[in-house]
Assembly symmetry: C2
Homo-oligomer: 406 residues x 2
């Protein structure tokens, strides 16, 4: 079950980036579960990682290696998160990197490891290392589609996005994949995303761009409020495009490129929400008129995390009282409830703190019956506007998470 059409886009290859996917047999025999990215020497790489204090061993290793030098290979396994595995987990993550370095004639810090799957079980290092040559042999610039499948866990759909734009006669492409459907929360989630571009971008600016784009995409989605130990989003720039170097002094190119990256990240983030565990609705929550961005976000997340609102969404029940109650308990100081308006799409349901005179249950029902719903709150105490995306809470969410390990 997922929201919206099952659409996988045409993925434009990125010169300088090759991808190989194989079946290592980590959890289930015969399923694609190991992905290797090969990055050309010219590639610059930036990343954002989980803020969970219990971050998984591969996250620790990837951050250390990325700080040391530009990576040449990314190794991603699904089926096992190598999280909560202590010292052994570090040893295992490094052993996988060593496997790649040996197969490719590179050095340990040039490899970034990524793992996703069950927490707390030892990583099957030999199974993974044994499959590295097969992944290496499969390397191709057209490997995005297979890789999108090879990084899935409870995802029901592969997730991809690809955009291109022209700048002074040269084309810049941005292509990426992501995975994740549960444990989705701000500050990254059980979420992995790998995005590459042929633009030429200095590493420092690349880091700034991915950080900002993440704030507008992966850090604005929530399925269940849980943040995983393994989240990572990586942006690689190969510089293979004929376009000039991306630089802030070239405002037009810088903005076009930032927008392209943000667009790809938002598409990938929305795809995660649409494929949220048990999701039957895609819900946009916009809060306008906060005194600060934090304040608007606080209200938006209180709504997006409320089990009562999420079950009402599942039931297509225009129970606006639950939205009103969530706004009221969001913890804003000196909140004047008489200033608050709440809308479902274009329908005003709460006006000046009470039910709108024009509102009818039929109007609310019509919006609630849709697969895509906008909840919009006007606080009228400032100018900060924030948007987050979430899903409903369904029987299938409970089933999936009650049964995941069995």
């Amino acid at each position: 079950m997922a929201v919206g059409a099952d659409f996988f886009p045409e993925m434009t290859a990125i010169e300088g980036v090759r991808i190989g996917t194989t079946c290592a047999g980590i959890k289930k025999p015969g399923r694609k579960d190991l992905v290797l990215f090969e990055l050309s020497e010219q590639c610059r790489t930036a990343g954002v990682f989980t803020k969970n204090a219990f971050c998984a061993a591969p996250v620790t290793v990837a951050k250390l290696h990325l700080a040391e030098m530009s990576p040449r290979y990314l190794l991603i396994n699904t089926g096992n998160a190598n999280a909560g595995t202590g010292e052994q987990g570090m040893t295992d993550a490094l052993a996988c990197c060593t496997g790649v370095a040996q197969s490719t004639g590179t050095t340990l810090p040039q490899i970034l490891p990524f793992s996703t799957g069950v927490i707390g079980e030892a990583l099957p290092v030999h199974t993974i290392v044994d499959a590295i040559p097969a992944a290496y042999d499969a390397l191709t610039t057209n490997g995005w589609d297979e890789a999108a499948e090879g990084i899935m866990t409870t995802d029901t759909r592969p997730k991809g996005a690809s955009v291109s734009f022209d700048y002074e006669g040269a084309t810049i492409n941005v292509t990426g994949i992501s995975k994740g459907s549960g444990m989705i929360c701000p500050n990254m989630a059980t979420m992995l995303a790998f995005v590459a571009t042929d633009a030429d971008v200095p590493q420092e600016l690349l880091q700034e761009i991915i950080s900002q784009a993440s704030e507008k995409s992966f850090n604005r989605i929530t399925v269940d409020g849980d943040t995983s130990t393994n989240d990572a989003c990586v942006l690689v720039a190969s510089g293979a495009s004929a376009a000039p170097i991306v630089d802030k002094s070239n405002e037009g190119l810088y903005q076009a490129f930032s927008n392209a990256v943000t667009s790809v990240l938002q598409t990938l983030a929305h795809a995660i929400v649409r494929d949220g565990e048990g999701a039957t609705k895609f819900v946009t929550v916009t809060v306008d008129g906060g005194q600060t961005a934090d304040e608007s976000l606080q209200v938006a997340y209180t709504i997006a995390h409320s089990p009562l609102i999420k079950t009402a969404l599942f039931a297509s029940d225009p129970n606006w009282g639950r939205i009103l109650a969530a706004v009221g308990r969001a913890g804003l100081s000196d909140l004047d409830v008489n200033q608050i308006n709440i809308y479902l799409d274009d329908i005003c349901i709460v006006q000046s703190g009470g039910v709108a005179a024009s509102y009818t249950e039929e109007q609310g029902q019509t919006v609630m019956n849709q697969e895509e719903i906008l909840i919009r709150v006007e606080l009228n105490r400032g100018s900060a506007l924030e948007t987050v995306w979430t899903t409903d809470l369904s029987h299938d969410y409970v089933s999936i998470n009650a049964d995941y390990r069995s």
Copy 2:
């Protein structure tokens, strides 16, 4: 469905307090839905109320009236919360109070109104006012059992508690009822509690005692993280006991009385969790070793609110990785994960940040199969210990909240 035996205790009558329950027909014909408390002139009354900014009309009226003078009557209806009803809601709440005042020869500020049920629908004032004489005629000191049923909404069981203790040959009794099973969260919830004692307590001290006891009971439970617009807990002291006046200078009596009130409130709070919507588990979350109480509470609530932990509890799945991930994302600064131990009952599952060497899946499974489970976290960075109580997240939770209005 609820956790533990369906036990309703012997309720000791409180001299000076009479209760009448009747069927007004507010939502369903023939069900008890209107309760009237009559308090003697000697009674002193204190209360704590929801902190939701959108507090319901009856809450606003009750707070105003309570600040003005000692109440003589409490009127409680179920089936309709009179919340999100704007100016009309205030008018309606006052009209109900007027109905009681006229039937009993009292004045408006001597009546406190309480409503619970669906948010956002107009209160059926005439239905309620018409039934006040029947509630008045039913007044009896033995009315606690019926009242416990008359205030239920989605509750599957009436909730009561009663304790007595002797002080210098005189007996002091504390008896109370509560309702609530969804929208349960700190700072009160869709929760009403009415507690009375025959102790003689000055109003100011009574307020202090109920505030403190609420912090250790109703403000430490959560079912779904939602705080309702209508929560209230009221403590009435009739002074009918032969025991001396409760005063802080009489440390022994003061402590014994505080403990009795806390005990009654905790029993009522736990009963709400046990009857939590769809609950199959009663879960105690204790966090020890925080630098501050707020810090320990922050970790405890992150665990208690995590849908992933709650679904694992429903599945009796010892998925300790989800607990570890929740501790990691609770937002504590400079958290040293290597200091953290986690226990299920007496079983150490995480030691020094990794899975305990002694831990076996069988041990975890044995605890998880129980109906009552203790999750204990040692942070080892201070001495603050806090406990909260919660439930699992089951299919029935989704069903109940997806279907509530239909």
